[in-house]
Symmetry: C2
Subunit: 319 residues, 2 copies
């Protein structure tokens, strides 16, 4: 897009660029240039326009625009196609529709807020505007539907890695899909499937992550990266790193199967080795979470000595 090209050009210049130079460089009229500049300003880019000097980019808005995500992303699959929204009901709904229409492996849907963000089992996810990262990602691995829980693990590991790299903070994973920091909820992952019984067509990973939420705007059981780091986090840097880590782990999974992902997951998790209560399909079980199976199931050793594999449920860690 011409608008993005002009923006890139301005970003590279430390000083004013004359309108003449810009219109000459891009072979567009001064009127067309003026219109693109207005659009950029409306999108939140602060651009000074001074007669006889020209244009100068002063600041970039805290937005996750497609062009900003793409710039310097350097992935091959993940986020090669991006749909950006100011507000949607849920990025999941959009991504599932796009998936059904054939959108490719790695398609990203991102929104600055969600009016009906959702978590597992129909629960809601609060998505305050410009404060978090709310995304859905279409993946098309060649696996059976039964193997899909590995995708949730892969996403969880990638997010912890990205948080570590960008903020230095240590996020942890609670089985099956919670991202925690100091026992408080930082994010959640949701994986939805569209499949034939014997072939996954596509999965959609959904992520809701609290980034720059102020402490007072959070539930007592929740936290944000800002609360922990005591400063605003660059959401764009974090998002790009998440996408890069997902790509790296996705390629690893496709090349070497689930084992390396599961090993990484074990490192980040805080469920294994603990005494837990699990509510699964309305039944309560208690025991020691001894390991995770290759299909993502939690192996729970009950006091009777019986070890059971749990595929779905909510875990509470006992003290």
């Amino acid at each position: 897009m011409m608008r993005d090209k002009i923006l890139d050009f301005l970003k590279k210049k430390e000083n004013y660029v004359s309108g003449e130079e810009l219109s000459h460089h891009f072979k567009i009229s001064r009127q067309a240039l003026w219109k693109h500049i207005q659009e950029l300003k409306e999108a939140g880019y602060e651009i000074l326009a001074v007669p006889h000097l020209g244009y100068k980019l002063v600041s970039i808005p805290d937005r996750l625009f497609s062009a900003e995500i793409s710039r310097g992303l350097n992935t091959k699959v993940i986020g090669k196609k991006i749909y950006y929204f100011e507000s949607v009901s849920s990025t999941m709904d959009i991504a599932v529709k796009l998936g059904m229409e054939g959108s490719p492996d790695g398609t990203l849907v991102i929104s600055e807020t969600q009016t009906k963000g959702r978590g597992r089992l129909g629960r809601s996810w609060l998505s305050p505007k410009y404060k978090g990262v709310y995304l859905s990602l279409i993946l098309r691995p060649k696996i059976l539907p039964a193997q899909a829980p590995i995708i949730t693990l892969l996403a969880a590991v990638s997010i912890c890695e990205a948080i570590k790299r960008i903020t230095g903070l240590e996020a942890k994973i609670k089985w099956p899909n919670d991202i925690l920091m100091y026992q408080k909820k930082l994010g959640g992952i949701l994986t939805e499937l569209n499949a034939e019984t014997d072939e996954l067509r596509f999965a959609v990973i959904g992520l809701g992550l609290n980034v720059n939420n102020d402490k007072k705007a959070l539930l007592t059981s929740a936290t944000s990266l800002k609360e922990q780091k005591k400063e605003n986090i660059n959401r764009l840097d974090l998002l790009q790193e998440i996408l890069r880590r997902i790509e790296a782990n996705y390629l690893l999974f496709q090349g070497k199967g689930p084992q390396p992902i599961i090993e990484q997951w074990r490192e980040y998790n805080i469920t294994l080795g603990r005494r837990v209560k699990v509510i699964s399909h309305k039944e309560l079980r208690e025991g020691e979470a001894i390991d995770i199976d290759i299909d993502g199931g939690l192996l729970l050793r009950q006091d009777s000595g019986l070890t059971e594999k749990i595929m779905a449920g909510d875990v509470a860690h006992c003290r």
Copy 2:
């Protein structure tokens, strides 16, 4: 709908009914009555209109109209909500969309023809107009995605039962989803899932069944009930019986689990006990099909003695 009420009234009468009687009975004007009669004629109902005598229903069209399906169906879940189309790209596409919008358990989508009917793994299904039964059915059982193959088995069993009851003919099942008669393809079943990794949201069963196709319009590897029975089959009776049998087996599955369905499947199947070649994920395996597992997988004993479970693939029966 008034139109359907008028139709029901005419069906019960062997002789002419005067326009006066009808408009009086339904408390509508003669003009309104005339309009409804025209609509019925356009839909294919042959209705004689004779001055001074009135209206008489002469014949019912060979169509699978919602109102005709509902009449005397007597199910509690399956087909309580019906979407009828003259032509669609694929009933699957419509049913998946309806499922995502929250259409209830048992919602039926039926079309007289499909321009892009599809089978397993993206293959196409020919759907000549008014000749077959092309349907998709939304089911919302509370199961894990990994348990979904049982739905395909359940549908296959139900279809064989319905064919037997309506035509007396014996259809057979080839793993995983082909309905055969005398080694020729009579129908196919496709099951698509929409799920979280740990909870099925809904499944859509798709059925394409050759009913009144003439022999010359069929591929040599295919057959139709008409070809076998040497007469036209009442598609409406057959469809109603299919829905009733699916409901009975669906309730059985929900009450007693997969075992009774699998036992019935074994009776109708022609794959078990045979030497077969299976192409699964581009790999060819050969051996004896010894049994079906509780999750719908085919247990194949290879010549090495190794028994493997195959979840997806195409089976060729060896001579």
